[in-house]
């Protein structure tokens, strides 16, 4: 009994942190309709800043805490003003989630650069001596945690309901157009909500830091836990955020205590799914409905990239020759290996691009399917000597089943949830990859995976692997190009921008989303298997959530919605760190920064940029420029 109470208290403390994160999510969501995944990053940033102020500058802990919150607010102000707020008017709504994932990567990468990868903890604010009440010990830090949650809830309530700023914030969330007419600066209020949410996040990180150690990549876990909390409670509802946070914290602690810490995140995801099936809008209904028959305001779309058939043949031919002869020109060794990785990741990206670039569904858990494919094939080969090709098929089958289950559960819900379910799924696979060490070899990875082989033919040298990968890519491109240039591709693109209008034409929206999701899982799984056979080794971080984010970045900077586009992104982000070793620590940071930059300034990606540049040159050099409606008809 005492034990249960003890665990319950732990759950409440953890729950307070989640509740604070969830409050931040709800605040930003109310004003902008966007789930801001950077939230967890601010948490870690605040805590580590406070740690530095305290440990290195010798500031007293409370001053260090205040300093941490203040500096986090400044960072949030800069990121908000330069990325988040401009993004709201330039980036398609569905992509905002990816943009905030980019911000999270940027923060994570910056933290890694500044503080390294080791864990940090703050000293308890009121000493180490725990309070003992009725035989139950409670760390004094617990009072700080509960106290800060209660005071933030009260402060937020006061701000929103008793001040002019609060009235302006609420006006923005209820009707931005009317708010603007009333002279309220909507971008200003958006920025304010973003900064306030970051400060709440920083507070959460700082008060929890004495009882949990934090490191650079804890941020994504915090983001997802905060999101799960807010989704359980009802996105946009403040009481819901608190209730959801506490519920999740309790569930998590009891699961850790009585089941296993390995499965606590899996159970959290399970709790979320159960609640969403039972009550799709969460425990607390926000009760805001939108007219469905009126189109969402069409955000500025990226330009249209279509390549003429003749040009496609010529360039395709040249590309093919280049691809086949490339190994001959390379100085050898490491370049060829990283070319192979480029190709393997491109296979995963073909799938992701169909899901996101064509069908407009965001997935932040693609590496989860890579992990399933890689570990299944690797483990079967290591443990049972199963032929690689059968291992690949087995992995694909499992991925397919997971994808279909995940999609069926989330598909009926609003679009946002599929994206977040994929992130949660990825994190769940992460924890299983570490936890199921009989199969995966745990954190140190699965070793001794053989090279790929079919019958007697083995692909142990990088050169052979290169041609194997090239072959697989060519077949995949052939198949996908066939589907995408036909009815399937058109249906996906219609769904991408206007599901209501697509359904009115008889396009079965859920079925096409499911198909796109299944295809993306198959490609990711295949890529994961190849990855394992190529390295003869697989470790959790090779196919972890960071990898999922990296895939998204590669797709966006390469050119989403263009079949070949992501190849450029994959090439750039894989080859650069190989060629310049020193760059590799900047990788996560660069991923985030590049993602934000491309979303804001070059949404059609490198591929689209190249096509456009080429057109301009061609028009300058030769033929009379063709005047079209594009130049005349625009108002």
């Amino acid at each position: 009994m005492v034990e249960a109470v003890q665990i319950g208290l732990g759950g409440i403390l953890q729950g307070c942190t989640y509740a604070l994160l969830a409050l931040g999510f709800s605040l930003v969501f109310r004003v902008t309709g966007v789930i801001n995944l950077a939230q967890g990053g601010f948490c870690i940033l605040g805590a580590l800043l406070a740690h530095s102020f305290q440990a290195e500058f010798g500031w007293p802990i409370l001053l260090a805490a205040a300093g941490g919150i203040a500096v986090t607010a400044m960072v949030a102000a800069v990121l908000g003003a330069l990325v988040f707020v401009p993004g709201l008017s330039r980036v398609a709504h569905g992509n905002m989630l990816m943009l905030t994932a980019g911000l999270l990567a940027l923060l994570t990468g910056a933290i890694l650069l500044i503080w390294g990868s080791q864990p940090y903890a703050l000293p308890p604010f009121s000493g180490d001596q725990p309070a003992v009440l009725f035989g139950i010990t409670l760390p004094t830090q617990g009072f700080w945690i509960i106290g800060s949650m209660v005071s933030i809830v009260l402060a937020l309530w006061w701000l929103l309901h008793k001040t002019n700023i609060g009235r302006a914030l609420r006006a923005c969330s209820e009707n931005p157009a009317a708010a603007a007419l009333m002279g309220i600066s909507v971008p200003g209020m958006t920025l304010l909500s973003f900064i306030l949410a970051a400060m709440i996040g920083a507070t959460a990180g700082i008060v929890i830091a004495p009882i949990t150690s934090l490191q650079f990549d804890t941020g994504s876990l915090f983001s997802i836990m905060g999101f799960i909390a807010v989704a359980i409670g009802g996105v946009g509802s403040f009481p819901g955020a608190v209730a959801g946070g506490l519920l999740l914290g309790l569930a998590n602690q009891f699961a850790t205590a009585y089941v296993s810490s390995l499965f606590s995140s899996a159970l959290s995801v399970g709790l979320l799914l159960a609640i969403l099936i039972w009550r799709p809008s969460g425990l607390f209904n926000v009760g805001k409905t939108r007219r469905q028959d009126v189109r969402e305001e069409a955000r500025v779309q990226k330009g249209l990239i279509r390549i003429a058939r003749q040009a496609a043949w010529i360039w395709g031919g040249l590309g093919l020759v280049l691809a086949f002869t490339l190994p001959l020109w390379l100085p050898g060794g490491s370049l060829l290996s990283s070319l192979n990785i480029t190709g393997i990741l491109f296979i995963a990206l073909i799938g992701l691009n169909i899901l996101s670039g064509y069908a407009g569904q965001v997935s932040l858990g693609q590496a989860g399917f890579m992990a399933i494919g890689g570990y299944t094939a690797g483990w079967l080969a290591v443990q049972y000597n199963v032929a690689p090709i059968l291992g690949v098929l087995a992995g694909t089958l499992i991925s397919l089943i997971c994808a279909v289950i995940l999609a069926l559960i989330t598909m009926r819900l609003r679009g946002l949830y599929l994206a977040l379910a994929t992130l949660a799924f990825g994190l769940m696979i992460d924890s299983l990859a570490v936890g199921l060490d009989d199969i995966t070899g745990g954190p140190s990875g699965l070793t001794g995976i053989p090279s790929f082989s079919i019958g007697g033919l083995d692909f142990s040298s990088p050169l052979r692997m290169y041609y194997l990968i090239l072959g697989i890519i060519l077949v995949s491109l052939f198949l996908m190009a066939g589907a995408l240039r036909s009815d399937f591709g058109r249906a996906l693109q219609a769904i991408r921008t206007d599901q209501t209008a697509a359904a009115a034409l008889g396009i079965n929206v859920p079925m096409y989303k499911l198909a796109a999701f299944a295809i993306s899982a198959v490609f990711a799984s295949l890529a994961g298997s190849l990855y394992a056979f190529d390295f003869n080794y697989l470790s959790p971080e090779m196919v972890g959530t960071t990898r999922s984010f990296e895939l998204v970045t590669m797709m966006v900077i390469g050119g989403e919605g263009i079949l070949l586009g992501p190849l450029l992104g994959s090439g750039l982000l894989t080859m650069l760190p190989t060629m310049f070793e020193a760059l590799s620590v900047y990788k996560t940071f660069a991923n985030g920064a590049l993602l934000a930059f491309f979303f804001l300034y070059l949404p059609e990606g490198m591929f689209g940029g190249l096509v456009r540049a080429f057109r301009v040159i061609k028009n300058r050099v030769g033929h009379r420029p063709k005047r079209s409606l594009l130049h005349e008809g625009r108002v």
Partner: protein, 259 residues
Amino acid sequence: MMQNTQAVLLEVKNLTKNFGGLQAINDVSFVVPEGKLIALIGPNGAGKTTVFNVISNLFPASSGDVLLAGKSLVGLSPVQIASLGLIRTFQSARVFPGMTVLENVMVGRHRMMRSNLFDQMFWLPRNRRAEADIYARAGALLDIVGLQQFRDSHAIDLPMGAQKMLEVIRAVVACPKILLLDEPAAGLNDAETADLAGLLRAICDSGITIMLVEHNMPLVMGIADEVLVMETGRLIMSGKPHIVQRDPRVIAAYLGMEG
């Protein structure tokens, strides 16, 4: 009654829709005979769009029934309703961004496509024939409405009038039994409106039944076989265009709208 001599394609019975306390449509009944062009007119906010939304089941009716060729549409999803041959357009032109004008027309053919994903992935002749067929149909329709020269432009770069036309032919290429058009002439200039009138009449003469929501009285009076008039959620009268036009209640409703 004259309708008895013709097959009824669409029948709406005692349809009611409440939004919270607001009664957007109130006990509306009418029939659309096969092969006719029926117009639904009424001032803004009369509930015309809501009638379309309920028929296509974008949201369910509060009560009442809708029958398409004798089969009830209640409880069917928008996709199922579309596959039965009821295709609608939207008041705000909803062309698909990110696709060319030609692709926008071709996507309309979706419900008639018989080639499956397998055929498409393997570039099988069956799919290539189907694609060639849509390509030809779409091209022909673009010719008719004079958008051929913009076929490879980004659809949302077209002027509003052209987008409206595009939406109409995208619906036509789906081979509907009945076409529900929500204010297709909004945003069109006079010349374009005249073109649209010709197009609608031609579509109807080709055997596609049309139900048209429209504000533009000359357009309606010129082409409709019968006119239904709504005001604040109720159907206030119906009849031949020239009769409806002279009815004092209609004139009052429209004057009310102007004022």
